[in-house]
Symmetry: C2
Subunit: 307 residues, 2 copies
């Protein structure tokens, strides 16, 4: 794989950025790597580990002369960073991001992008429950999808270059529009997270079942709900606040569906339950056939098969 | 470990029964093993594999002279089997079961137990998504809890013997009353299953997100919901129909809680979301500290750590 960008700047040095840096370095995709983070501690660690060639004190410094700028901050912070770096971007450069929602990020970032800069949002569908500059690893994106999510027309050469970059990082790349992205991700990721948070919250509230009982007897299904519900609170708060419409829609549908199953249970309608539970098996089979899961569950942690 | 029961009869030869047979044989806990299953195919497999010393054609034959009878049929079939075998049980023997709900099983089985027979329900909190006479393995109960759930007073010698049997099979044993059992299991197992079924159903119904999209992009959280939602429909239908009160209560609480998070999202109350998502982390830490999980999620499949 040959070099795709001469100089790449990472704003935010957490799990995704550090994984991109490792994967890109291994494949020789990027010339000089600059990076910065809001926290002095993160910058110090990045310097100590040699994570970037240059660790800048500010985002403005970091983006200087960069051919690709990757925004790796929480969704709620994207607008502020874009405003800050906008006037300092190199003409003709590409700005991308890795946020979990796209419409809100586009609305926050695009107004600050100067004429001649290519803003092409993206979203790698990969992650673990860990974070920080030392949590990254080069294999994170292997065999995972990265969605490129442009808002309307973009420069085809800039788009193709970003696609090649992600393919070089190991990802399967697809292009999708922002509204559809936000709906698909609501179903496959955001709603499951919210529901897991809720279930764990209910268990915690239920004083007649003690915490220690929940903990001791959690083997039978509850355990992995708690794994999801241990995800980063800041990130998830921002996701839900910035994808309100899709969240409202799916939650409405979910509650409706749950109430219809509740009614079937109350009325003792065993056939409805049996048919419903049988129907949901097909999706599972589809996922296994699509090669997106093995016998080893990993709850979206992106490390691929364990066996 | 020395022999605890001379003759043990298993009614139903699925995952739990075959695992009990393998574990009990390895530990030398049982003398002669008889077994039966409703399906001729299962009986043929059991004969071919030498799973039991004697494979009987009927439950009545199987329980003859047995010191311990283990009911391993779906919860909805327990009453019928109990009625059938009641008159043929050996005086002084113990009858137990492995059903996931206890009040309904007790109400269905107890009336058919003759004077002098000790009926002591139990529930091993272990399982995999596989089933049938070839799905069992001796390690299934290792480091998992088995709850002994007597309804009122029982003969202390019979209780102690059954406890020793389960300890010999590898389980941690605790005694709990039926109502509390049904509530705890609703929280730790039944509700998570129902919610996973619902989420997968919603995804399937949502025609604007295609099945193939759900499948392709399922890495980010949804995947393991589909794993749960692939569980045995008959077993789960019976569980919900036979634990109605607890199901209704938890579903009501769950919907209430989900609606309050929905309201917070609609109103943009980020603090509430952040606090809620932070609070749920504590339970996760508790589970890891209690030694009931490792970094390898297995969604209650009971095989223990993978690494």
């Amino acid at each position: 794989m040959s070099r795709i960008y001469e100089r790449v700047a990472y704003i935010g040095l957490g799990l995704i950025a550090s994984s991109m840096i490792h994967a890109g370095r291994r494949a020789g995709l990027q010339g000089e790597i600059t990076g910065t983070a809001r926290s002095a501690e993160t910058r110090a660690i990045a310097r100590e580990d040699g994570l970037c060639d240059i660790v800048a004190e500010t985002a403005v410094e970091a983006v200087k002369d960069a051919d690709l700028v990757v925004l790796c901050v929480p969704v709620g912070a994207m607008g502020r960073v874009a405003e800050e770096i906008g006037p300092h971007l190199k003409p003709g450069c590409t700005v991308t991001d890795v946020g979990s929602v796209k419409r809100a990020v586009i609305d926050a970032v695009a107004p600050h992008m100067p004429e001649g800069v290519h803003f092409i949002p993206a979203h790698p569908l990969a992650g673990t429950e860990h974070s920080g500059p030392r949590s990254g690893f080069a294999e994170l994106f292997q065999n995972r999808y990265t969605l490129i999510v442009p808002d309307g027309d973009v420069d085809p050469a800039a788009l193709s270059r970003l696609e090649q970059f992600w393919v070089g990082l190991g990802a399967n790349v697809e292009v999708m529009d922002p509204e559809h992205h936000d709906l698909v991700l609501m179903v496959t990721s955001h709603a499951p997270h919210l529901i897991a948070y809720t279930m764990v919250g209910v268990a915690d509230d239920l004083r007649r079942v003690t915490d220690s009982e929940v903990i001791k007897y959690s083997a039978a299904g509850f355990r992995d709900f708690t794994r999801i519900a241990a995800s980063d609170p800041t990130m998830w708060r921002d996701v839900f606040l910035n994808n309100k419409d899709a969240t409202m829609e799916i939650l409405g549908r979910f509650i409706e569906e749950l109430m219809s199953l509740q009614r079937a249970i109350r009325k003792g309608d065993g056939d409805l339950l049996f048919d419903y539970f049988t129907r949901t098996r097909a999706i599972r089979r589809g996922i296994i056939e699509a090669g997106q899961d093995t016998d080893a569950p990993d709850f979206g942690r992106g490390k691929g098969a364990k066996e």
